[in-house]
Amino acid sequence: MIEIADEHLREIRAHGERDYPFECCGLLIGRFENGRKVVSEPYAISNAREEAAKRNRFLIRPEELVRGERYAREKSLDVVGFYHSHPDDRAVPSKYDLDHAWPSYSYIVVAVEKGHAADLRSWEMESDRSRFNEEQITT
């Protein structure tokens, strides 16, 4: 389960629309609380993939993640997950997402159709890497 404020969901949707037709990406900063994740703020990251691949790929470099973690630690927080957009595709993780996922983290995917944010869903990977399970979003 993931808890995130409405205004933060709006920020994520707006980021997806801003970067359309490319994929946007960012970190979710907050706390792990008894298997639940509480997001205090989204942290936008510039998509490190080259221009040609940005339409359907994103990459957050380790240096960027380390920077995000440092920022979180200063506030006594953690990185609890990531968000990214699927331009003109469903808000469902792809096989590629699964191959590159880490356990425990939340993965929020927002579908952006013709430049407008639509469906937004959150996912967590099964710890045996077999699949993603959708998780409930509470605001």
Partner: protein, 493 residues
């Protein structure tokens, strides 16, 4: 030796909640093996089915990415810290079928790389038996694409070695035709190819070397209008050009598209090579922010080049291109290699990224491609000045035949004069023209010539500025035009 491994937050649940674990090991690989043998659940998140680190798992020893050191064999000593840092990647479903190739560019993972046929396995056997290349590396080469700018001196060995090594897709950009004067060094072209487009001749040779390579020919000049669209379709760009506007164009387009630029240049007996890759080090502009003034650095056509030199520099470029594709450590980033063929010496300079670089710095001012001819001052060359009086070779011949009193001054170098002369011409090399001005009879009409007409125009300008009172006329097209229009027995070079 005891070293500390820090466990990233999402993996702590598989390590009994610990954030740091100590193990005894002498290499990074050994440390990870020990960690995952005691905490077996961790293994599937860090390693794939082939027991290689997953491509989105980054391992640092202290502050150094082990990919840039010796990989899993990177030594560790007492008190070192091993950091496991995830890169986070993902994306929409559209391209899942090529996800393996797409999983991080040159350091891509193993999953969906193309397979090798038995015929290819036999062909690449000397690569396959080395663990540094192996089956995975050879499949990476097959999955890779390289765009070569130019199929001349540098492009010749490059194209041949990249094709032989099994690079899957090669793009060739050139609009030139093969000339007899190319054959001294451009070994991808043969005597039978003189007069053919270079890309057609290069294609034939590459297909002969390795029919498994897909060749894409671009019969065009590389320009600001087409460069970005061309570059995005390739993994690595190799610069085999011979002029400054194209070199800056290739550099800027590589920075803007995030591609590595494998650079080489040659002149007379000296060559340079480097890998300019803005994500990992400096770009060409960090090294040379401004081009030299036009005419200061002569081209190979004016200054000459030892035929074997582009063979050596081009082979170094091929070497680095292959290493980039394999994800090898120690590529020629942050270093400029200098080679002097006459003294047989290699030197290496350290390069640093310039934070104020206008294209790859912190606050770039160049965000799209510009007019590179103008940037390099090419449009203001002296020979385009309308004030200079000119004569064609045919007209000169007519005037000599009708007995006009004309003196001819040849401003080329003595070794060029030896190759061929216009009858009754006097040799005064450009560099001595002002000192030997008194040898030119100012009372007679004077034709000045060189090989192509550029240096003679400079000589006339210099003489006029120095106050030479006589009537000076430039021979348009130089002795080359004389050979074309008047006397084909004078050899062209």
């Amino acid at each position: 030796m005891p070293v500390t491994i820090t466990i990233p937050t999402p993996l702590r649940q598989f390590a009994d909640g610990q954030s740091e674990i100590q193990v005894n090991a002498s290499t990074a690989g050994e440390a990870l093996d020990k960690l995952t043998s005691t905490h077996s659940e961790l293994r599937r998140h860090l390693f794939n089915d082939q027991n290689a680190l997953r491509n989105f798992v980054n391992v640092y020893v202290n502050d150094e990415d082990i990919r840039h050191a010796d990989g899993p064999d990177t030594p560790v000593k007492e008190g070192d810290t091993i950091l496991i840092v995830p890169s986070i990647a993902g994306g929409a479903a559209v391209l899942d079928e090529i996800a393996g190739k797409d999983a991080g560019g040159p350091e891509a993972g193993i999953p969906a790389l193309p397979m090798l046929s038995n015929e290819e396995v036999a062909r690449y056997s000397r690569h396959l038996i080395m663990p540094e290349v192996g089956m995975t590396g050879q499949r990476k080469l097959k999955a890779a694409s390289v765009l070569m700018i130019g199929t001349g001196g540098l492009g010749a060995p490059l194209g041949m070695y990249l094709a032989a090594a099994g690079v899957g897709r090669l793009g060739l950009v050139d609009f030139d035709v093969v000339d007899a004067s190319n054959l001294q060094r451009q070994i991808i072209h043969g005597t039978k190819d003189v007069g053919r487009p270079k890309i057609a001749s290069a294609r034939d040779r590459i297909e002969d070397i390795n029919p498994h390579v897909e060749i894409e020919t671009h019969d065009t000049k590389l320009t600001s209008a087409n460069a970005l669209n061309l570059f995005v379709n390739y993994d690595v760009i190799v610069d085999g050009t011979d002029n400054f506007p194209t070199r800056y164009l290739v550099n800027d387009a590589c920075v803007l598209t995030g591609k590595p630029n494998v650079y080489g240049s040659i002149f007379r007996f000296e060559g340079q090579a480097s890998v300019f890759w803005a994500e990992r080090g400096p770009c060409y502009r960090c090294l040379y922010p401004e081009p030299p003034p036009p005419g200061l650095v002569p081209s190979c056509a004016e200054g000459g080049v030892l035929g074997v030199l582009p063979g050596i520099i081009g082979a170094i470029q091929a070497n680095e291109t292959i290493k980039i594709i394999l994800g090898a450590p120690d590529i020629l980033v942050n270093r400029l290699l200098l080679f002097d063929a006459w003294r047989m010496r290699f030197r290496e300079l350290k390069l640093r990224k310039n934070p104020d670089c206008p294209v790859c710095g912190v606050n770039p001012t160049i965000k799209e491609l510009i007019d590179y001819e103008e940037f390099c001052g090419i449009t203001q060359q002296p020979e385009t000045k309308p004030t200079m009086e000119e004569i064609t070779a045919t007209e000169l011949k007519q005037r000599l035949d009708q007995g006009d009193d004309i003196q001819i001054i040849d401003v080329r170098e003595p070794h060029e004069y030896e190759i061929g002369q216009i009858p009754n011409s006097k040799l005064i090399p450009l560099g001595q023209v002002l000192n030997r001005m008194n040898e030119i009879d100012s009372g007679r009409e004077t034709i000045v010539h060189c090989k192509m007409g550029g240096r003679s125009a400079k000589a006339i300008e210099a003489l006029q500025r120095a106050g030479f009172p006589g009537h000076l006329i430039n021979l348009k097209g130089g002795i080359t035009a004389w050979s074309n229009e008047v006397d084909p027995s004078v050899p062209k070079y």
